[in-house]
């Protein structure tokens, strides 16, 4: 296997691993808060479930970038990489969603926890409560776009 292939696979692995770690952390923490609310008020299950799921999207974005990368470097399709320069390009192209996915999922998890507390006290404010963690999502989407554009244009 060429060095270029190794670099590209590292990039593909990082985008799933880091973004997935962030999502697991965010969804896990929001899940604890959701369980706390449901243990006292089971009627809020659907609302807190939606808030819990929000930090999970970064993991999906990371997976998407990994699939696109694998489909272009000769693993799931495309042409195998021969040179280190192209491999490094794939690695760097994967980093935006890997790093931003990790950090944004962490913060989105904390925002979701705070908003689950808001829904616990004022269930009628669910619409507004959804918006706060959704704001954090913006930056994960931007990173996803950059990674996809970069990977598909190498």
């Amino acid at each position: 296997m060429s060095m270029g292939m190794v670099f590209a696979l590292i990039g593909a692995a990082l985008s799933t691993a880091l973004a997935g770690m962030g999502s697991a952390w965010g969804v896990g923490m929001a899940g604890q808060a959701a369980a706390g609310v449901v243990s006292e008020d089971p009627d809020q299950f659907a609302k807190v479930l939606l808030l819990q799921l929000l930090p999970g999207t970064q993991g999906i974005y990371g997976l998407l970038v990994t699939f696109i990368t694998l489909s272009r470097i000769g693993i799931l399709g495309g042409t195998p990489i021969a040179d280190a320069g192209t491999g490094l390009s794939y690695l760097f192209a994967c980093l935006p969603i890997a790093i931003v996915g990790l950090v944004s999922a962490f913060h989105q998890g904390k925002t979701s926890v705070a908003c689950i507390g808001l829904v616990a006290k004022k269930p009628d404010q669910f619409g507004k409560a959804m918006l706060f963690p959704a704001m954090v999502e913006t930056y994960a989407i931007l990173a996803l776009l950059v990674s996809i554009l970069a990977v598909t244009n190498i």
């Binding site: 923490m29 706390g36 609310v37």
Partner: protein, 323 residues
């Protein structure tokens, strides 16, 4: 445990905060005609349980037990409980010393305590086995017991035990990793010092008494507070105002009950920011203290209704609620 490990507990507490009584509830209860109506209002809000019936004390006790049960379910650290239960622990010590020295049965005046309930305290004191007490209580217990035996001076006994309690709170607060507990301990000691100074100024106590009774805290210089209180009520109010406790001075001018109300409200103001905190144990501790404040205010209200206090006098005694 780190701050982020309490998200489950805080989320549960957020739901429970919805059932706390508000200022409007208290005001509404103050306007009800008698104890029965107040009990009806409380039971409609879920107070008491199947065995409590219409007995006010049983209802309040059931609420205290429910609060403790929630704290146990949430597995709150033992150091938090230790600090929060210090006033009850020292109260039991004071009551125990007086019961032994005066041979009067005060069984109802003791707080329930896992280790230091009535029987344990009386046994320790009668055997003078002070080592069986927590370390921070031993010296005060011995000194207060000796003074009570030799002089029968219950007030000095109270001063010694109360001061030891406040010192223990400050020490426990300093050691606590929870910011709210540190602030609560500081606020409790500052309020207790102001309360002691106000009473001493009113009854003309001397500087020696005040120096013995006041506990050091970070909110003000205790020596200057003692000096001001020994000079009278006016110098005390001036000193309090200069230290940012102008509202305490105003309450003192108003009436003793207004001042007592200020003391309790000050503690509620200390914990109120926890309503906006989504992490850490702070909101759980705040809820526990809010419940205690709620039960205390309900007790005041029920006692006042039982004694046919006029509505205005009851309203003056109502404490600020957390929600």
């Amino acid at each position: 445990m780190g701050d982020l490990d309490y998200v489950y507990a805080v989320a549960r507490i957020r739901v429970k905060e919805k059932s706390l009584l508000s200022d409007a509830d208290m005001s509404q209860m103050a306007g009800l005609k008698d104890v029965k109506s107040v009990i009806g209002y409380l039971t409609d809000r879920g107070w008491g349980d199947t065995g409590t019936g219409n007995d006010p004390e049983a209802i309040l006790k059931a609420e205290e037990e429910k609060t403790l049960a929630v704290m146990k379910e949430l597995k709150v650290d033992s150091d938090v409980f230790d600090l929060l239960s210090l006033p009850n622990l020292y109260h039991n010590l004071k009551t125990g010393i007086k019961e032994i020295c005066t041979s009067e049965n005060n069984a109802d005046a003791f707080f329930a305590h896992e280790k230091y309930g009535r029987d344990a305290i009386l046994k320790i004191l009668s055997e003078k086995n002070y080592k069986a007490l927590p370390e921070h209580m031993r010296a005060a217990a011995e000194k207060a017991y000796d003074i009570m035996l030799k002089t029968g001076d219950g007030q000095m006994c109270d001063v010694i035990v109360d001061r030891a309690c406040l010192m223990a709170m400050i020490e426990a607060g300093k050691k606590s990793k929870h910011k709210l507990l540190r602030e609560y301990a500081e606020s409790t000691v500052a309020v207790a010092d102001i309360r002691v100074a106000a009473r001493a100024a009113k009854t003309g106590k001397n500087l020696y008494f005040l120096t013995e009774a006041l506990s050091p805290c970070a909110s003000f210089d205790v020596k200057r507070l003692a000096r001001a209180a020994s000079e009278g009520e006016e110098p005390l109010m001036n000193y309090l105002t200069s230290q940012g406790f102008g509202d305490a001075a105003e309450a003192l001018k108003d009436s003793p009950s207004a001042f007592e109300r200020w003391c309790d409200n000050r503690l509620i103001q200390t914990i109120r920011p926890e309503k906006r905190n989504a992490f850490s144990l702070g909101p759980v501790i705040a809820w526990y203290l809010a419940r205690q404040n709620e039960i205390r205010t309900a007790r005041i209200l029920l006692t006042a209704k039982a004694n046919d206090f006029p509505e205005e006098a009851i309203r003056e005694r109502l404490r600020e609620m957390y929600v």
